[in-house]
């Protein structure tokens, strides 16, 4: 059995996100800070009341992308652990859609890493939300992920 380099916790769930469990996962004796981001469903969008949201993901790819974000967080910032959970399915106003917890011995790293995590997730992880309002629904405006412009050079035949 190999010991993981970082004991991070990255997951999707269709139930309510258990924030306390995620915080508990990252908090260690050597940590002086745990910074969390709680992304929640807002009751309005573009000046219009929102009824609820439906989230869907390309789950297998999204999980890999979220794991890559965690790896990059460890590379960029002196942090201890990362927990990142995203909920899928129907979410009501006020519910948590994404929760990120980052621990570190000193607080600046955890703050910066947590900000990096949510900003990168919103730009690169294949997740989509549909906003329902009185009389209709729209897919939320999103960001086009950074995609390679050219195909990689052809590998030599093996």
């Amino acid at each position: 059995m190999t010991v993981p380099l970082h004991d991070d916790q990255i997951l999707f769930t269709r139930e309510a996100i258990e924030a306390a469990a995620l915080i508990g996962h990252v908090r260690g004796a050597e940590d002086g800070a745990v910074v969390t981001f709680d992304g929640c469903v807002r009751n309005h969008s573009h000046g219009r009341p929102t009824l609820y949201l439906d989230y869907e993901a390309y789950e297998s790819m999204a999980l890999v992308k979220m794991q890559e974000i965690a790896v990059e967080m460890h590379t960029k910032f002196p942090i201890h652990r990362v927990a990142m959970a995203h909920r899928l399915g129907r979410l009501q106003i006020g519910e948590t859609s994404v929760f990120i917890a980052v621990s570190s011995p000193h607080r600046p790293a955890a703050f910066e890493a947590c900000r990096f995590a949510i900003d990168t997730l919103k730009r690169t992880v294949p997740i989509w939300k549909k906003e329902y309002f009185e009389g209709g629904a729209v897919w939320a405006d999103g960001e086009l992920p950074p995609v390679p412009a050219e195909a990689p050079a052809r590998k030599s035949a093996s």
């Binding site: 992304g39 989230y55 869907e56 993901a57 390309y58 297998s60 790819m61 999204a62 890999v64 995203h86 859609s97 994404v98 949510i118 997730l121 919103k122 730009r123 690169t124 992880v125 294949p126 997740i127 989509w128 939300k129 549909k130 897919w139 939320a140 405006d141 999103g142 960001e143 086009l144 992920p145 950074p146 995609v147 390679p148 412009a149 050219e150 195909a151 990689p152 052809r154």
Partner: protein, 88 residues
Amino acid sequence: MPVVSQTVRVKVLFFGRLKEIAGQGEDSAEIAAGATIEQLFTVFTSRRPELAKFRASLAASRNQEFAAWSTPLHTGDEVAFLPPVSGG
């Protein structure tokens, strides 16, 4: 050179609004060996012309990695067409 043109079968996934237009989230297509993701997309726009107008605002992936539209495809590849992402 083979006389008979070779084809490859790939799995195709649609998400978000594309899934609604395509009518299903998962499909497959038989394309010429070496065809690109761009050429695969035209297979579906010929079936569902409405898809074409989203081309400029789509990303594509091959085997769960973002990929250029010029990426050539091989048998068994999983290609997804991804609208702008809006997680969080």
